[in-house]
Subunit: 425 residues, 2 copies
């Protein structure tokens, strides 16, 4: 209990420092903020040796713990990765500043002029897992939008994260800017996440980035509003009229180009009347590309020639976000049945229809309740960069505040400024 | 424990029905939705006798419990109030439909066309206290925006609320529309609020409307995102250069026109250099209007002639949302000191400066972190109707999703529709 109180006090104190500094960042001009980002980028390149030395310690500890290769890869920093990180911070400086934008302005009959102005959210609480580059990405996006940020990274990346934060602090200090806007939590116990998520009044929004368990823990415990980035159980529906030469590249791209990401496809829905030859060719092509296929009974009955490559799907397969070279396959009787399947099993991330029938496309785009709905394109485009946002904080699968890829604007709110000449009500 | 499980099952079942029906409402045209609203308005007038009879039962029970006059007044329905309710539903039908609006549309170099389309949120969970008119207001706003709604009113208004819901259901049934989109919780134990607030996947957003205790309970227990409508500790800052003939009506209006509402002023900050005669005249005028004044030491020392009307303020007064004819008064040395006071004690609702100094006005409007910041106008304008929104669900004091008066748009989200010609990544 005493320790928990200590953790809470320590986390609150850092949040308070971030809030104080954020008040000043909120009023900086675009030029001041961009100069800060460029200084951070320069300093990252300059401090490369210290950052890599710190990362070596994290890597050695993770290797000693016998972590998987994919984990080690996410944790690793290299000279090339630091250079990319610096470039992405510079790219951020080149983006327009959403803060200060007057989004609406109108007059009332009584002469009041009301305008809605974009302002920073305040202080962001960022809870994330292994990848140390998030430390810089998130802090740079927060500063670009005039926000403070309290970072809570994983213990396994602590040395790397602290080195990156020290480097950012040094860059801001060199310009005389309040570096306290970027806080890295000293307390790294599990309880520090709970403390951060309940600091209403000091933290304005929590963004969890990582696996489903982390996100669910944050959603359950947080009393501060959460921007939930979530699971993608994405579907591709190949309609009766889909062209084979369009369907095949879309399905292969959506499943195999990067199976570990949330916008990769997990279930293929095939219209029963799509030509049998197309179905067989497509499934063979997937199997040749190394994809394990888990198909419904109907698909397996319809394609006896594929008995060797079609495993039986069960209920769990329709729910699964494999994040791997596995694909669930189901034959449906109609667009309506496809819509029902997506409604039941989809996670509201990205859903696609491949069809030459414009009316079916329109119906699909209207009826499917997801952040991104596609006609004749791969679900892999659900991404801030691919949308042209320049920067991405994550992909929201909730409906309030921001949905789909979140760019800089997702880190802003608005305030109403009302200009009067003595009006009373 | 068994009872809790029963409550949860019952609440979840109603939320599921609302979600099913909401899927259909999401696709209705503006004409279909507005016809539904007009039918509800007609039916409200037609069923007046039944509604009043039900309200009589609630009133009799509340009187027997010895409820205060203000409580009874909020609970009471009259023929006139039902007529107003019907009119407000018709006014809603006349407002433009935000759903379906394409808010942005752009092309990518690869030929993808991306558009952001406004869609309903899904199902709203509404937790509210005594006033039965909220039952109709909230349901009508939800239907207008293609949402479902699960209503959880207070037990004391149950008969009135059920009569109003029956009336709305009958109107929708007469048009063959899915009336299940409007659900009134059968379970009215305290636990039903907790159940509603944790139905992630069935409920998309919770809106609590009522006292601070209710709102805090919802914020603490909800795992569903909450649109927080909150406390208004609103300040008026009378700057050195403020005109007396502007300051007096603004202060009187903000404090006395309707002290029980959240946009009423609670603290008056007076610049030390505002002419002494103005200060004395203004405070006298307030006292004459029946306002109890609780002033800081400096104000009391500066105005010995007001010894009879200035009580001593303590720390609690700076925090208080009186919602009554009481006003805290503090003399400050500078705009900066006023800003610090507002930052420390303000609740981010509505804050005003009265000044002839444009630079001070700009600094105040930029620096104060609140939903609505005013120059030379009363804080009482923070209201959906006064902003010209036509309808209001509440006034958000949080920064995500919606801030300030929430109109129809606050009940919408967006989805991205991506139109391709076979693009892959």
């Amino acid at each position: 209990m005493n320790q928990q109180t200590d953790i809470r006090t320590s986390v609150a104190e850092q949040a308070r420092l971030a809030k104080q500094a954020a008040r000043r960042w909120a009023l900086f001009t675009r030029e001041e903020k961009d100069e800060a980002l460029r200084a951070i980028a320069r300093r990252l390149r300059q401090d490369e040796d210290q950052i890599l030395a710190a990362n070596d310690k994290d890597m050695a500890a993770a290797e000693a713990e016998g972590r998987a290769a994919s984990y080690l890869d996410r944790l690793r920093l290299t000279s090339g990765r630091i250079a990319e990180l610096a470039e992405s911070v510079e790219a951020l400086a080149d983006l327009p500043d959403p803060v200060g934008e007057v989004t609406e302005r109108w007059s009332r009959p009584n002469g009041l002029v009301i305008q809605s102005v974009r302002v920073p959210l305040g202080v962001i609480g960022m809870v994330y897992e292994a990848r140390p580059n998030v430390t810089v990405d998130a802090a740079a996006i927060a500063l670009k939008t005039g926000n403070g940020i309290v970072l809570r990274g994983s213990r396994s990346a602590k040395q790397s994260n602290l080195a990156l934060v020290a480097c950012m602090h040094a860059a801001l200090q060199s310009l005389g800017l309040p570096e306290q806007a970027v806080q890295y939590l000293h307390a790294d116990q599990h309880e520090s996440v709970d403390a951060l998520c309940t600091l209403n009044g000091l933290i304005d929004v929590i963004i969890p980035r990582g696996g489903g368990q982390l996100i669910q823990r944050v959603v359950r415990t947080s009393t501060v509003p959460v921007l939930e980035t979530g699971v993608g159980n994405c579907h591709l529906f190949i309609d009766e009229s889909a062209r084979y030469d369009m369907a095949e590249p879309i399905v292969l791209n959506a499943k195999t180009s990067r199976p570990s990401v949330c916008n990769a496809a997990e279930t293929l829905l095939l219209h029963r009347c799509w030509p049998h030859g197309h179905t067989v060719a497509l499934l063979k092509r997937l199997a040749d590309a190394g994809v394990e296929l888990r198909a419904c009974d109907l698909t397996r009955r319809n394609c006896p020639e594929l008995a060797g490559i079609l495993k039986a799907a069960n209920e769990e397969d329709w729910h699964a976000e494999y994040l791997d070279l596995t694909l669930a396959v189901r034959t449906v009787d109609s667009l309506e049945e496809a819509l029902q399947h997506i409604e039941r099993y989809g996670t509201g991330h990205s859903e696609a229809i491949v069809t030459e029938n414009e009316q079916n496309a329109r119906q699909f785009l209207a009826a499917v309740d997801a952040a991104a709905v596609y006609h004749n394109a791969s679900t892999r485009f659900t991404d801030g960069g691919e949308f042209g946002f320049g920067a991405e904080i994550g992909i929201s699968t909730q409906k309030i505040h921001a949905r789909g890829p979140m760019g800089l604007r997702a880190l802003t709110s608005i305030k109403y400024q009302i200009l009067g000449t003595g009006q009373i009500r």
